[in-house]
């Protein structure tokens, strides 16, 4: 080091967010997933997003089911409460918790087995209800913890390490979610840092359920030739619909695009998602067209990524229930135990 100073340089102040917290405060435990697992990259993007948005980690609640994906909440946001439930039942647990305390920022992490097989019933009903929740599927087409069986998102014709070939139609969780009325549906790739980051920021800013199906290759059981969920395959077949950038609320943006090539989606909290269209004519507000495009992509072997569908104003479950602004969980007794006169009236009505 060419330095003339004899005193060591003061260590650089770590970057802090608007709460004055360094990113360290958004980290979790050390991952126990395989080195190179796509899930670890997703954990990084998640914690960065909450850091960037300046959301207090104590205001975040993490939910998951069972599987490799569902372990990952232990590896980000260590200062947030977490609920690692049972296989396929994350949506119900998250629903109860977020109704009990609507002020929490909920993030659920599930896998393709956890969501598209054992948890399909809860998944589809969560999409219908539009609970405010970021729902990340870490999708690798394979059961990792039980050592490499196909999941229901495996594309027909894809091959397992041992030679087994998937012969059933793949379930497209995004197409399903759009058809069921979800308000924010996106697909991304754990290896696409920029796109995934923008989508996660937007998902957190969205008011209802934000489904992110993130192709996240399993380096141990499904990253070989013949797999359609391998790094190589996804890189070769990724068809991004847009180039995405997230603009936080209150931040001015300058328009420097050609008319017709860029669109903006204003999200629940006033922030915006800018979409520079890579596919002319794709409008993520058209529900039926989005489903059709996804089905076409599946037939063509494309991995269609980006913001597939958005309806920022769709009423959420919290809206429909008309919940009060403060958590139900901690309402004072006088608001949840009716007065004696009410019981007197009930008794009188039964005489």
């Amino acid at each position: 080091m060419a330095s003339t100073s004899t005193a060591p340089a003061a260590p650089a102040e770590p970057r802090v967010n608007r709460l004055g917290l360094p990113i360290l405060e958004y980290r979790g435990g050390k991952t126990t997933l395989c080195a190179g697992c796509g899930h670890n990259a997703i954990s990084e993007r998640i914690l960065e997003a909450y850091f960037d948005l300046g959301i207090p980690p104590e205001q975040v609640a993490k939910f998951s089911g069972i599987g490799c994906s569902s372990k990952s909440p232990a590896y980000f946001l260590g200062r947030s409460h977490a609920f690692n439930g049972v296989h396929g039942r994350m949506p119900a647990v998250a629903t109860g918790a977020l109704l009990a305390n609507r002020t929490l920022h909920g993030v659920g992490v599930s896998g393709d087995g956890d969501t598209a097989s054992i948890g399909m019933g809860q998944f589809v009903h969560l999409m219908r209800r539009n609970l405010p929740l970021v729902y990340v599927i870490e999708d690798n087409g394979v059961y990792g913890l039980t050592k490499g069986q196909f999941s229901a998102t495996a594309d027909p014709g894809s091959v397992l390490k041992g030679g087994a070939v998937a012969d059933l139609p793949a379930i497209d969780t995004c197409a399903l979610a759009i058809q069921l009325g979800a308000g924010f549906v996106a697909r991304s790739f754990s290896g696409d840092k920029k796109q995934l980051s923008a989508l996660l920021h937007a998902a957190i800013a969205h008011g209802g359920t934000a489904l992110l199906d993130v192709i996240s290759p399993c380096v141990t059981f499904n990253d070989h030739q013949g797999s359609t969920k391998s790094f190589a395959y996804v890189k070769a077949h990724d068809e991004p619909l847009q180039e995405l950038s997230f603009v936080p609320a209150l931040e001015e943006i300058t328009l420097d695009h050609e008319p017709g090539t860029t669109a903006e989606v204003t999200l629940h909290d006033g922030s915006r998602l800018r979409l520079r269209k890579l596919e002319a004519g794709y409008d993520p507000r058209q529900r039926a067209a989005a489903v059709a495009r996804l089905m076409g992509a599946q037939a063509a072997g494309e991995v269609l990524t980006g913001l597939l569908f958005v309806d920022p104003l769709a009423p959420t479950l919290v809206d429909r229930l008309g919940l009060p602004p403060e958590p139900l969980a901690t309402l004072p007794p006088e608001r949840v135990r009716p007065p004696r006169a009410v019981l007197d009236a009930i008794n009188a009505s039964l005489r």
Partner: protein, 594 residues
């Protein structure tokens, strides 16, 4: 025993969907208003309309409200079952029947009272559908005359049942009067009569599901997640109505959330999520739902999350007899889920207890940080019972051990599953608590005191032993058993809706055989110490319950040492009908006089 004044059981045989429920409610209420103790039981099919239904009303001047086997009067409205219904009657039983059925051509030893229902309602309403409903109010008027049930009380009861609908009240009063007038030509059945007395003053009439809902309302429930299933649906629906009526702020803002879930797995999952986040959350279900909830119930117990689950039991196994009653979920619920799992059970034996347990269950679930199961049944939950008025919960809510921000600042942190108080119950924090050390990681996998993942054998075992201590400690917190009588050689132990039959049976045994029997009604599991003491104080202890296998006796044997367990005699039986006293009496005598 011959029927007598204010001591009879009458049955209306009809088809479901014909509107007879309103008529039967009027009969029940009219007797009640005359101060006569009554109970009403609906025996209905798993069907919406057109299948046979029987409604039985018992009047008992002595206050017995269990099902009575013998019928003292039949109203035969259903041609399909009439022959069978009539064949079962004792000689001399009066039968009010739809005249065109021509039943009097059969047995000559019955009292026949033909009523031309269609002809009587014809002038009352032009609409055929309405006339069909009014037919049933005609038999109310006929019975009013035959039983000397005061007509003004019948008309008052019609006003109550058709509350706020003057046109319906007028039509039904007219139908009842038509039936009353028609009966003027009849000779009254000998000995059978209703006479005004004063045994219902101040009392209420209610079903157990509504009582449970009222209890939950005053228990401060904030999240209800449920999936429809007979016979628990009316509990959830009564609670929804209660919440809408009594739990909205001045601007209409609710202090609750209700979700009709996609299945019972989701319902219990939502309840656990809400309980984890600090809400008083509950669900109501029946046996098939309990079976589905198994995995999440185990998670709730192992991760230590408060929850309240009502199981309004029906006849199993499998779909079983969905509209009949049973007490056969005791074992499957006490140990619901795989592994060494145990759940506190509350066993209400009256509608009053459905109310009190309805709010106390939340205190217990939050104190014990675990799912608490309340086992009602179809008889208790869906039938009409006299009761003392519900008593306002005087004790403040017990929200259990929860650390807030100030606590964490003082303590510097906490270990979620550490037994700092020696009672096996740790301290928890709620998500959203504004302190950097508030969070912990809830999981159903092995965990240490700080809720960290652990597969270490000694950590696992220590935690499991603590959970066992916690469940053991619940004995002192749960509702204590109710003992009646002392010093007899013979004891009876029962729970839940078996109570009315056992109480009446004790009176029968004393009056008919001079046999004194002490009685202990258990109200919770794990059992209080008094349960063991009761068994120890009696030479022979009959365990009465409504199932095949003697599940309560089984639970008792698990907890009692060998010599005491040998004193237990299981009197378990179930055919889906509510237990009656005579069955208990006969069973006890079969042993005692063998």
């Amino acid at each position: 025993m011959a029927p007598a004044v204010n001591d009879f059981s009458l049955q209306v045989a009809t088809v479901n969907g014909s509107g007879s429920q309103s008529s039967n409610s009027v009969l029940l209420r009219a007797l009640f208003q005359m101060g006569i103790p009554v109970s009403g039981k609906n025996l209905f099919p798993s069907n919406i309309a057109g299948l046979p239904t029987w409604y039985t009303i018992r009047a008992s001047r002595d206050g017995w409200v269990a099902r009575k086997k013998e019928l003292d009067l039949l109203v035969a409205m259903n041609g399909e079952t009439a022959a069978e219904d009539v064949a079962a009657l004792r000689p001399g039983t009066p039968v009010v029947y739809d005249a065109p059925l021509g039943l009097d051509q059969g047995r000559a030893d019955l009292g026949w009272y033909p009523v031309p229902f269609d002809a009587l309602v014809a002038p009352l309403a032009p609409d055929a559908k309405l006339r069909k409903l009014l037919r049933n109010m005609v038999y109310v008027g006929t019975l009013s005359r035959l039983l000397e049930l005061e007509l003004p009380e019948v008309e008052l009861a019609i006003g109550r049942v058709f509350d706020g609908k003057p046109k319906a009240v007028a039509l039904n009063v007219a139908a009842a009067r038509a039936g009353f007038e028609h009966a003027g030509a009849f000779t009254r059945p000998p000995g059978l009569a209703a006479r005004r007395m004063d045994a219902t003053r101040g009392k209420i009439i209610v079903d157990g599901n509504a009582a449970a809902a009222h209890g939950a309302l005053f228990g401060g429930v904030t999240v209800l997640a449920w999936y429809p299933i007979t016979p628990s649906s009316s509990l959830a629906e009564a609670l929804i109505a209660d919440l809408a009526a009594h739990r909205r702020g001045p601007d209409g803002t609710p202090s609750y959330a209700v979700v009709q879930a996609e299945d019972e797995l989701s319902a219990i999952g939502m309840v656990l999520g809400a309980g984890w986040a600090g809400a008083r959350a509950m669900t109501a279900t029946s046996g098939p739902g309990i079976s589905l909830m198994g995995e999440l119930a185990g998670l709730g117990a192992y991760a230590e999350i408060p929850a309240v689950v009502w199981d309004v039991q029906r006849v199993g196994p499998s779909t079983g007899l969905p509209t009949r009653t049973q007490q056969a979920d005791l074992l499957s619920t006490a140990f619901l889920s795989h592994g060494d799992t145990g759940h506190p059970l509350l066993l209400p034996g009256s509608v009053e207890e459905c109310f009190t347990f309805g709010h106390q269950a939340f205190d217990l679930a939050e104190r014990l940080q675990t799912p608490v199961f309340v086992l009602s049944d179809l008889d208790l939950g869906m039938n009409q019972w006299m009761a003392e008025p519900f008593r306002y919960p005087e004790a403040p809510m017990d929200r259990g051990k929860v650390l807030g921000r100030a606590d964490l600042e003082r303590l510097g942190g906490f270990a979620r599953y550490a037994d700092v108080d020696g009672d096996g119950i740790g301290w928890r924090t709620l998500p959203g608590t504004d302190h950097p050390r508030a969070a912990y990681f809830t999981r159903g996998s092995g965990h240490d005191e700080r809720a960290g993942y652990s597969e270490k054998g000694e950590v696992y075992e220590k935690n499991m032993l603590r959970l066992a201590r916690k469940l053991d400690g619940a004995r002192a917190l749960l509702p204590e058993p109710v003992a009646t009588g002392a010093g007899a050689e013979v004891g009876v132990v029962a729970f839940g809706s078996s109570d009315p039959a056992v109480r009446e049976s004790r009176a029968q045994l004393a009056a008919e055989r001079g046999l004194a029997v002490d009685y202990l009604r258990v109200r919770a599991w794990p059992f209080a110490a008094a349960v063991r003491d009761f068994v120890a104080a009696h030479q022979r202890v009959y365990v009465v319950e409504q199932n095949r296998d003697g599940q309560l006796a089984g639970l008792l044997r698990l907890e009692l040492a060998a010599p005491l367990a040998g004193r237990l005699r299981s009197l378990a039986r179930s055919d889906g009908l509510p237990l009656d006293a005579r069955t208990v009496t006969d069973a006890v005598l079969a042993h005692e006089e063998a």
